[in-house]
């Protein structure tokens, strides 16, 4: 059996600070969001956002659309059906982590009271 605390369901693609923010954001806005909206909502730089969207698109987690609005290029980003599924599965695993974390024993070890024979490394 796999380790109780291995959390294999934590999809590497989604388990990334920036991308986790992006996906959470996109999941709450199923109609899609523009590049600049995403940039500000997730507090990312242009290059950063571009790169992460590329990764998400290549993994079929988001769909990217282009157009020209008022003579300027615009990028619209939308979470895909598959992306939503993967995101929900990921979130489910996160809930497991939180559940495990809540069972954290309250008693503190206070950096002392170690059986003899142990020396700090």
């Amino acid at each position: 059996m796999n380790g109780r605390y291995s959390y294999d369901g934590l999809d590497r693609i989604l388990h990334e600070k920036a991308r986790l923010g992006l996906l959470t954001c996109l999941a709450s806005h199923p109609e899609g969001l523009l590049f600049n909206d995403l940039k500000e909502l997730c507090n990312l730089t242009d290059g950063n956002l571009s790169r992460h969207l590329q990764v998400l698109q290549q993994n079929q987690i988001v769909e990217i659309f282009k157009s020209f609005e008022q003579k300027r290029p615009q990028t619209l980003c939308r979470i895909s059906v598959e992306g939503r599924e993967r995101f929900l599965a990921y979130i489910g695993e996160l809930q497991k982590v939180l559940l495990d974390a809540e069972t954290t024993s309250q008693r503190q070890n206070s950096s002392q009271a170690l059986p003899p024979g142990w020396v700090p490394a």
Copy 2:
């Protein structure tokens, strides 16, 4: 103001699949755990575990102790007081993510019905 979805509280050191497992595990076992217990609980290879513990120790998140039990070296690992604080703060931020994720709109976009003028990238 920072982006609504930037999740700055997601401490990079803790926001790592393996280390998140390790910390969750260690937080639930404040008396500490042996190298091999951790290895199995978190389903990690020796090298992997060694490396992550080193990172966690250098960041004062865990304390490492050595001893010889039955003529074999033993490594005991325990979450530090500071480590527990950082872990709880991290978990708090995770809860925010889950809360945001739950507000996910149910209506699906079904990969269609896009305003005209948009073309797939």
